[in-house]
């Protein structure tokens, strides 16, 4: 059996991802998170009298609290593996990646474990976000003054 044949066999035998179902589930869960977010925004604005901009900040705070707590208690992993992008793309995915990295490396100690690996997965988001925002801000300042 040569390499090509082997590759074909692997492709045939590996379980097929239900792409259509994944896409629909991602759409529904991603939309549901936004819907719940909008409900929370309205509660914050109407019951607590917050401005809309402030309630967006509180909303990300609430989502992060929810996602880290659910990940720590072990309920979020199965949800993410079902909903996939529906929970990875919202802020919940960012919190989930940090919390699960921290839990996974807890046994290596506080410094070499949690400290060194906390941003193992989410670090790239922070790195490229800050770098791109920095250069775009420089560009904006250079163009418009």
């Amino acid at each position: 059996m040569n390499r090509d044949e082997y590759q074909k066999l692997v492709k045939k035998m590996s379980p097929k991802e239900p792409k259509l179902r994944n896409a629909i589930v991602a759409f529904l869960t991603g939309g549901l998170v936004a819907f719940i977010g909008e409900v929370i925004i309205n509660i914050l604005m109407n019951s607590f009298g917050l401005a809309r901009v402030d309630s967006y900040a509180w909303l990300s705070f609430i989502l992060i609290l929810f996602a880290t707590f659910m990940t720590a208690t072990g309920k979020f992993d199965s949800l993410v593996s079902k909903a996939k992008c529906g929970l990875i793309i919202p802020t919940t995915g960012f919190a989930h990646s940090i919390q699960s990295a921290a839990l996974d490396y807890k046994r290596d100690g506080f410094i070499t474990g949690i400290g060194a690996n906390l941003f193992k997965l989410a670090g790239s988001v922070i790195l490229y976000g800050i770098v791109s925002a920095f250069f775009l801000a420089i560009l904006k300042v250079a163009i418009y003054g």
Binding site: A26, G30, G37, T68, I88, F94, L103, G129, S132
Partner: protein
């Protein structure tokens, strides 16, 4: 109406990302990083602010909002205190996400054990 718009916008972005994830070899890390950069670029072009006005929470819960907040913070900082403001102001808006995620994950990591 806002609920429906938020639902559809956020859902569509998640759907697009899921289709990319299923049909190419990229990892979720690639997608979230790219979305953050796209958010910063859209904010630079002045589009992301309008998206937030139009779709509300549908746009702010996405990770692309992180790039938008970084850029907005840098520009606001520059307007308030000059070149140094780009550095000091950049984390002023997304600071709430960063600080809360670090504090909560630390507390919960101490309180809970990893499940295998």
């Amino acid at each position: 109406m806002m609920y429906l718009k938020a639902f559809i916008f956020s859902g569509l972005i998640c759907l697009i990302c899921q289709v990319i994830l299923d049909n190419t070899k990229v990892t979720p890390g690639h997608i979230t990083s790219t979305l953050t950069v796209i958010g910063a670029i859209l904010s630079f072009l002045g589009i992301y602010g309008k998206i937030v006005d139009c779709f509300g929470a549908g746009a702010t819960i996405l990770i692309s909002n992180f790039g938008h907040m970084l850029y907005e913070g840098a520009i606001t900082g520059f307007e308030e205190c000059g070149a140094l403001g780009i550095f000091t102001g950049m984390l002023s808006n997304p600071g709430i996400s960063l600080v809360s995620v670090i504090v909560f994950s630390f507390i919960f990591t101490i309180l809970f054990k990893a499940k295998d």
